[in-house]
């Protein structure tokens, strides 16, 4: 593979996947104790995807999603998103606050706050395990929350990488476990989008440098 990613092999993607798994494990534990019920985070997929495909992962660029955005600061900067389709988000909010609003346009301040806090807890535990694993200092910015079109939100995170490439490596994590009224499990996604220069730092820290 060429471009800003250097020679990223399936082996490197597997390592990112393993990190994702560990992070997801911690995040699931955190979410379980918040909701007081079992939450499972699925094996993440780690993919090299084009800008177009990245929005397809969440259901198309016009899908309305609730998103919590963080800038990752520290030694390997990047962007991080926690995203849920708006209807799923309203079920999550219902479980957290007892407030049942199907229409995202009527989400209260409390609802946004619950969403933001969930994103905060998840990303915090995710990042701290990534940080433990790599020995790199990483910390999230204050979160920003919005409900809008997936494409509009995600393109924000692609800004850094887009200066050098039309592709991004997406570390995707899906969680399931909580149920909505119909007994269907809620699904959410994590996207970790390291800045172009951060890949090298992460792999170096893991002892598997990218060959020039």
């Amino acid at each position: 593979m060429i471009g800003p990613f250097g020679n990223i092999t399936p082996f490197h993607l597997d390592i990112l996947k393993e990190i994702g798994n560990i992070g997801a494990g911690h995040a699931a534990t955190a979410l379980s104790s918040l909701l007081n019920k079992g939450v499972d985070m699925k094996v993440p997929s780690v993919k090299v995807v084009s800008f177009h495909e990245i929005t397809e992962l969440i259901g198309g660029s016009e899908t309305i999603v609730a998103s919590v955005f963080f800038r990752v600061n520290g030694e390997a900067p990047g962007c991080m998103f926690f995203m849920m389709p708006s209807l799923q988000a309203s079920h999550l909010i219902g479980q957290l606050t007892g407030e049942h609003t199907e229409d995202w346009k009527e989400f209260s301040e409390m609802a946004f706050s619950a969403l933001q806090e969930t994103g905060n807890i998840l990303s915090g535990s995710y990042l701290s395990s990534l940080s433990d694993f790599t020995g790199l200092k990483l910390h999230p910015s204050v979160p920003a929350t919005t409900v809008d079109m997936a494409g509009a939100v995600l393109s924000w995170g692609l800004m850094e990488i887009s200066a050098v490439s039309d592709y991004a490596i997406v570390i995707e994590t899906a969680f399931t476990g909580m149920n909505d009224q119909n007994g269907e499990s809620l699904k959410g996604h994590f996207f970790l989008l390291p800045d172009p220069d951060s890949y090298r730092k992460i792999f170096n820290a893991l002892g598997v440098p990218l060959d020039e």
Partner: protein, 160 residues
């Protein structure tokens, strides 16, 4: 029969009547439409970043940047016979509100500024725009009547 051509992120394309052209999920990106009213042809580019000088490798997708994207769209339309071009813009939002964060956070407004600068160089007037704010937009242009439909998640369709 109305066929709609879809433009992705950093994509570029042209249409003539009865085709329409559309791009979805503009956040801080800017959708630029150039069109010739009398000849009923038009084109669209989905711009991500203001300036191609930050492209770190030699080859890049011209549609991604305001300077190269607007120029390429102009050339494409002229080669297809367009003469008197006008512009319409949408997008350039600031999706998240942060304190601090610097230029990175202001990318939407900077994209709009860069597009206007390039249009000025090409002596193309901006006929209408729906830019700024903090929400996403999906746009669809019809070269038949020069209408640009701007759809947002919260307030429906605005025609500019």
């Amino acid at each position: 029969m109305s066929e709609v051509k879809k433009i992705g992120i950093a994509g570029i394309g042209t249409v003539r009547v009865p085709q329409k052209i559309r791009t979805a999920g503009l956040g801080s990106c800017v959708g630029v439409v150039l069109f010739d009213e009398t000849r009923k042809i038009g084109g669209m580019v989905h711009i991500m970043l203001p300036d191609s000088s930050i492209a770190k490798n030699g080859e890049f997708n011209e549609g991604k940047f305001a300077d190269t994207g607007v120029r390429l769209l102009y050339k494409m339309l002229v080669s297809e016979g367009a003469r008197s071009l006008k512009a319409k813009l949408a997008g350039g939002a600031q999706m998240f509100q942060f304190s601090g964060g610097g230029d990175f956070m202001r990318i939407g407004p900077r994209n709009v500024e860069a597009v206007k600068l390039e249009l000025k160089t090409l002596k193309i007037n901006v006929q209408s725009e729906d830019t700024g704010g903090s929400y996403g937009r999906t746009i669809e242009f019809n070269p038949e009547n020069g209408e640009l439909h701007v759809k947002t998640a919260s307030s429906g369709i605005n025609i500019i």
